[in-house]
Amino acid sequence: MSSHYEAPIRRPLIDGDKSYHDITVEVAAPVEGKANKLWWTAFAIALTAFLWGLGSIIYTIGTGIGVWGLNKTVGWAWDITNFVWWVGIGHAGTLISAVLLLFRQKWRMGINRSAEAMTIFSVVQAGLFPVIHMGRVWNAHFVLPIPNQFGTLWTNFNSPLLWDVFAISTYLSVSLVFWWTGLLPDFAMLRDRAVKPFQKKIYSLLSFGWSGRAKDWQRFEEVSLVLAGLATPLVLSVHTIVSFDFATSVIPGWHTTIFPPYFVAGAVFSGFAMVNTLLIIMRKVSNLEAYITLQHIELMNIVIMITGSIVGCAYITELFIAWYSGVEYEQYAFLNRATGPYWWAYLLMMSCNVFSPQFMWSKKLRQSITFSFIISIVVNVGMWFERFVIIVTSLHRDYLPSSWTMFSPTFVDIGIYVGTIGFFFVLFLLYARTFPVIAQAEVKSILKSSGENYKKLRDRNHE
């Protein structure tokens, strides 16, 4: 990598007069300190939501799927909406750590750790839904091709739902490994700094005896690169396979070939929005504003803007082709979205996803932290509605008018969704207190090329 020279017009990625030691201390501070009242309050709220969701799940399994708002026509609604939403959010982590690594984006180093944590935790939430939306959860292991006593009764490999099983489980495992290898030097740093024996023991276990020798680093870099190369097609294929759940069907509004790349673009879009939501808070409460700078937020906003535009282009393409196809079912599906009983959901989706990211063309707005925070939430609302609109509006009115119906969720549907949000934040809050939330080893590698103090020093030398 061109580490010797950097164009003066590039802005610094680490603000202030930092040394290697400063980075260590500031990254370790949240882990070594004690949780404050704010953290405990947030944790208590998240835990309550999680327990409420757990109750809803147990109630569903105990009583039956009938406690949800589904009906004979709309067999998928909040369950799969939430599943796709969570998987989508999870994609930004891999994008930031893998794709941005392949594109040698140094700014990823301030945010990749938390983005990957977000991936893991949201894929965990996503993984709940395929299981709990089954009528017979206790037979869930039948989706696995395991030799059995039923004359080796096998799975049918033609179903995208089975591909989902492989996609999600591979995605979770690879992301986990990728995340953990990156954590090794940072855990080792915490281990070496720990003064209490218990912490020392824990971080010794977690860091797998990392000692940071030249050979280790060389292999570490190679493994990261290989994993990034593997994770990039993985991240594309996972959401592609999720999109196949719909696109392989013959339902008007579902059967369309643009879904694979468009779902991926939407996933990146919503994922980056979620990263922005989380990091805007985290940089403040964990005092990491020097590492997660305004430039990081601005760049994430630009990614949101680009992917938002791609998603917008896909919406227009779908609308155009629906008209162009001359297939009346297809045309009606889109007419129904725009003017049917769920018009408000469609309008929300359009305004949140297509219009709101366009504000980011303004430099003033994309450099405003408050505005970025609001948009990041708006985008995730919009992306939830995108999945809801695709799933429900296509199902509730399709080929036979005699099967047309409506869908409304019950408190159990909502309870489970709220529960997953709670669970996500439980995990994320615990993570923020126990893990090094910034990849300090990586940030140290760019300090001298992109640190504000070093940049100033270089500029002065040039003059």
Partner: protein, 438 residues
């Protein structure tokens, strides 16, 4: 400064002349009437008479039952054979135009992304985009000729066809000649305007002391990319998808884009390697080539991803109005249709996986030639089944068309290269790019 070697100039003229003669031959040897086709079909049956092929039996059955069907068949074959030299020319024109256009898109992306590595290649990219106005005018003339019914490529342009086809009638709000030509003019103008503006700015930046030109270029590149995102999709519907006016696919625009961008990057690599071999690009090192080769590798996989997504989804759902597209391609074009997967995916995937190989010029050249061939076949399989159907073969018309446009492309690109210095020295990232090492 680069000087256009007289050898290469002669080569480009030779290609154009040979190509032109071949194309003219292709046009002159098309059957002049349906009667000729009947005679031709009869002869080919007689020639194969003793073999008693299945094909012949079916035709004979038709012949014995209804003379009318023979006429219809002969007329169909007549149109297909008439279309053949036109289609061959169209494939070649589109192929080189798309290389130039996607180079422009790649160039704009590099500016908008403030990439540090490719600055030393900018002049090469700009030269490749010099073909854009030339190719754009040629394509536009081609469309005007098509709309004057000199060929039957775009069947929806034929009022007689439309009169009997309700599906096309319903689309005529979009698929009508004036609107089609206006759209084509808008796309081409928009692309050429950005290209010329960018070229002007980057040349002005070379001699300026501040970054105003660079900033303008950055902004206009971002604006161009938005314009490109929309117009590229529409262009693919207009220029290619409408050849099969009954068929539609939402992914189509992005799939065409994938084919374009990988061909463009490959061309950038090939031209750079050629110039470096001649000693003109001493600031380009093997790390730059490595990066280009990585893009060739990555976008080859991306193309395959989109190819598979489109194919698999249509195959899986098997809805009659969509499946016909792949059915004709699979039945009549099996070798090119499946062969291009080898050329566009398997070969680059295996060859360009290794990091060391991606730094070896002749390796990149080998992989690049295969990729370009593969994407020519890709465009061929997009266009030909709609225009010539099962009457395709790869003959004088096809090869000559490629030679003709290739000659022109080489002439335009290398003339443009010889006009300005090969280093965009005013770019603020130039030093990063010169020192680039990966």
């Amino acid at each position: 400064m680069y000087t256009f070697s007289s050898k290469l100039k002669t080569l480009s003229f030779a290609l154009m002349i040979i190509g032109f003669l071949g194309v003219a031959y292709g046009f002159l040897t098309t059957p002049s009437s349906v009667e000729d086709v009947k005679v031709m079909l009869q002869q080919s049956h007689d020639a194969h008479g003793s073999e008693a092929s299945a094909h012949e039996v079916t035709v004979n059955e038709h012949g014995s039952t209804q003379a009318h069907e023979v006429d219809a068949h002969a007329e169909h074959v007549f149109h297909s054979l008439k279309n053949k030299p036109w289609s061959a020319l169209y494939v070649a024109l589109f192929f080189f135009f798309m290389i130039s256009l996607a180079t422009l898109a790649f160039y704009a992306i590099q500016h908008a992304a403030q990439a540090g590595w490719p600055v030393v290649l900018f002049r090469v990219m700009e030269a490749i985009t010099a073909y854009l106005p030339v190719g754009g005018v040629l394509l536009f003339v081609f469309f005007v000729l098509s709309s004057l019914h000199l060929n039957h490529l775009f069947v929806w342009m034929d009022p007689e066809v439309v009169a009997h086809d309700e599906l096309i009638q319903n689309k005529s709000g979009y698929l009508n000649v004036p609107f089609f030509l206006i759209r084509a003019a808008i796309y081409i103008t928009g692309w050429v305007v950005y290209r010329n503006y960018a070229r002007k700015l980057t040349l002005a930046q070379d001699n300026s002391t501040d970054l105003t030109n660079y900033t303008k270029l950055f902004k206009s590149s971002a604006a161009f990319l938005v314009f490109f995102l929309v117009t590229e999709s529409m262009m693919s519907w207009d220029w290619i998808m409408s050849l099969d006016p009954h068929w539609f696919s939402t992914l189509f625009g992005w799939y065409v884009f994938a084919s374009m961008i990988v061909s463009a990057i490959t061309t950038i690599a090939l031209v750079s390697i050629y110039l470096k071999g001649k000693g003109y690009l001493e600031f380009v090192n093997n790390s730059h080539l490595h990066d280009l080769a990585k893009f060739m590798f990555g976008f080859s996989i991306f193309w395959t991803y989109l190819w598979f997504s489109q194919f698999m989804l249509i195959w899986y759902a098997n809805i009659p109005e969509e499946i016909t597209y792949f059915a004709t391609r699979f039945n009549d074009y099996k070798i090119p249709f499946l062969g291009m997967l080898g050329l566009n995916f398997v070969f680059p995937f295996l060859i360009l996986m290794n990091s060391d190989f991606k730094r070896v010029p002749w390796f990149i050249v080998c992989a690049g030639i295969v990729i370009l061939l593969g994407h020519y076949v890709d465009i061929y399989v997009m266009i030909m089944p709609a225009t010539v159907g099962d009457q395709w073969f790869f003959g004088i018309s096809e090869i000559s068309s490629v030679l003709l446009v290739l000659g022109l492309f080489i002439y335009v690109v290398f003339s443009a290269l010889s006009k300005v210095p090969l280093l965009a020295k005013g770019n603020p990232f130039i030093k990063e790019s010169e020192h680039f090492h990966y």
